[in-house]
């Protein structure tokens, strides 16, 4: 398998701020790769390093085996879908999409045909004559996608492309992006702060915090076995068991994560671990009830099936869970 993008100990400092701090990653050709993290975590700077808008302060970047440092954006075989779409307001939609081909010197007829095909691919055939200002947000997003893909990039970079869309449109675009990526076979690198988006779309996820990758892996692994407290907290809503509770359960690690849906309110059966506490709160979430239990000062959330009876607030309960659902974490 070919490596599409390689980061070897890459750092990018802005004055004293370490926006990207010694990041290592390797993205495989044809992969849908998500970079997930809160704002200011360095994920967008990593994307800009790939696009060539930023240069690394230290470290080495390769794109398809070629050194990327010092190569300007216009000589890289990557294209970007910008967060604000950045469509050229003075050009028609067709000329926007054909722009990359135009500056490469491809003939008028040929590039108009290619741009028309690209617009058809993103389901906007016949929109070529309009101006960006006459399109809705979702349509502009598709134009931005067509404008990048018409250049046949080896890697497509997407900077929070769905951030400005409403929920329904966002879910629809998620599916379309995913199927587009599968049919084109192009490597997609996707920046998002929405963990649900990353989990549902990506083949692999890199979780960023404070310029570093906290965890890199398949969505199931990141979700079920968070390596750090930050990942446990940011990706979904795992319970983080304090060192006191870990000791009590006989763990050597100082912290452990526990998914709310892995906990049952029931006496422990053979081989299961248990903790006792009192119910501190409860809320109805549709398919489940979320019950918060106070265990020796720490709060543990339980996702209990809606069919099950909900204990009263203040009543004592026993929590049980399997040893394999308890994941020890690094102290970070």
């Amino acid at each position: 398998m070919t490596t599409a993008v390689l980061f070897d100990n890459v750092s990018r400092h802005f004055g004293a701020v370490r926006a990207v701090d010694r990041v290592n990653l390797s993205i495989t050709e044809g992969e849908f790769f998500a970079m997930l993290g809160p704002s200011g975590s360095g994920k967008t700077t990593c994307l800009r390093l790939m696009a060539g808008f930023e240069q690394p302060s230290a470290g080495h970047i390769e794109i398809f085996g070629e050194t990327a440092e010092g190569v300007p954006p216009y000589r890289r075989s990557v294209n970007t879908v910008f967060q604000d779409y950045a469509l050229f307001p003075h050009l028609s939609i067709l000329d926007n999409v054909a722009y990359g081909l135009m500056v490469k010197g491809i003939g008028r007829e040929e590039r108009r045909k290619a741009a028309g095909d690209a617009l058809a691919m993103v389901k906007l055939p016949g929109y070529g004559a309009r101006r960006p200002g006459q399109l809705s947000g979702g349509q502009r997003q598709r134009v931005a996608l067509a404008r990048a893909l018409v250049n046949k990039p080896k890697v497509l970079l997407l900077d929070e492309p769905l951030g400005a869309l409403d929920l329904k449109l966002r879910e629809q675009m998620q599916e379309e992006l995913k199927s587009l990526q599968k049919s084109l076979g192009i490597t997609f690198v996707f920046v998002t702060h929405d963990q649900g988006e990353a989990l549902s779309m990506a083949d692999r996820i890199a979780v960023f915090n404070e310029g570093r990758i906290q965890q890199l892996g398949r969505p199931e692994d990141v979700y079920n076995r968070p390596k750090t407290r930050f990942v446990a907290d940011f990706v979904g809503s795992s319970n983080v068991l304090s060192s006191k509770l870990c000791q009590k359960l006989g763990l050597t690690a100082s912290y452990a994560s526990l998914r709310p849906e892995a906990v049952a309110i029931a006496p422990a059966s053979d081989g299961a671990l248990s903790l006792s506490g009192t119910v501190a709160g409860r809320s109805f979430l549709g398919a489940t009830n979320r019950i918060v239990v106070d265990v020796e000062g720490s709060r543990i959330a339980v996702a209990s099936p809606a069919a099950q009876a909900v204990p009263e607030i203040g009543s004592p309960v026993t929590l049980s869970f399997a040893t394999r659902d308890l994941h020890p974490m690094e102290d970070a």
């Binding site: 696009a51 050229f88 490469k104």
Partner: protein
């Protein structure tokens, strides 16, 4: 009925407004009127008779043509220099961050805020200290100081409305710096530059104060007119020239107004 009435201005205000406008514009009409008078020494009212002979007289006077061509040349060269320098300066101030950026932006605008006489004296003493003889080029330099401001102000406002990601998008799509300027930046700032250039041309064309301090033996058109008013000979020729000046400066300013009025639709679309 009531709402219509509240929208109507009181009579007193209307009269005051009309009087104000008349006070500003009637003198200009008088200038036009005296271009056609038969009396050549004094401006007596009403004119004893009307004639168009002064247009022919003005056409045949070599000093009018010398002054006019000098003014057009100065204005054209000062505007051209201002377009290049003003645009570059606006690009630097609006698209990048550097030490002293705010200071530079203030210093560029300063010449237009300073009284012309200060600029004039300052330039004159600077030229004589540097032993630069007063010539056509010293006039151009003097005019360029305030022409740059006009271009800069127009360009910087437009530059600020171009989202930075537009330029990045162009680079990302394979356009180098020159292509990005040609296909993305220029179309977005073009009308602002045209408007700024027209204003700069008009300003230079009727400038008197800085010119008096920086000119050598040459007379630009406004200077020539001042000299003519002192000598009572073929006075209406001055009025004919004044009409031409009004037309030459008014048309570009009108053009600039219409070009920048719709600026929002040009640069801000889709944002």
């Amino acid at each position: 009925m009531r709402s219509e009435k509240t929208n109507r201005a009181p009579l007193g205000l209307k009269i005051a407004a009309a009087a104000g406008l008349a006070f500003m514009h009637l003198p200009i009409l008088l200038i036009f009127l005296y271009a056609f008078t038969t009396e050549e020494k004094t401006y007596q009212f009403p004119p004893p008779g009307l004639t168009t002979q002064w247009f022919a007289v003005a056409w045949n006077r070599p000093d009018v043509w010398a002054a006019l061509t000098l003014s057009v040349k100065v204005a054209a060269i000062a505007t051209a220099a201002a377009l290049v320098l003003g645009t570059l300066c606006a690009a630097a101030v609006s698209q990048t961050r550097f030490f002293g950026r705010e200071t530079v932006s203030l210093l560029v605008i300063l010449p237009i805020a300073l009284p012309g006489i200060i600029t004039g004296i300052a330039l004159r003493s600077a030229f004589s200290m540097a032993d630069i003889p007063f010539s056509f080029w010293t006039i151009v330099l003097g005019h360029a100081t305030f022409c740059i401001v006009v271009v800069y102000n127009n360009a910087v406002a437009r530059f600020r409305r171009i989202s930075g990601s537009l330029i990045e998008a162009s680079l990302d799509l394979g356009a180098d710096g020159f292509q990005t300027f040609r296909y993305v930046i220029l179309p977005n700032i073009g009308t602002a530059l045209l408007a700024g250039g027209m204003l700069a041309f008009a300003l230079s064309f009727d400038e008197v104060i800085v010119t008096t301090f920086t000119a050598g033996q040459q007379s630009t058109l406004p200077i020539w007119m001042l000299e003519e008013l002192i000598r009572p000979r073929q006075r209406p020729v001055t009025n004919v020239v004044a009409m031409i000046v009004v037309i030459v400066t008014f048309l570009p300013i009108l053009g600039a107004y219409y070009l920048t009025r719709d600026g929002d639709q040009i640069a801000g679309a889709g944002k």
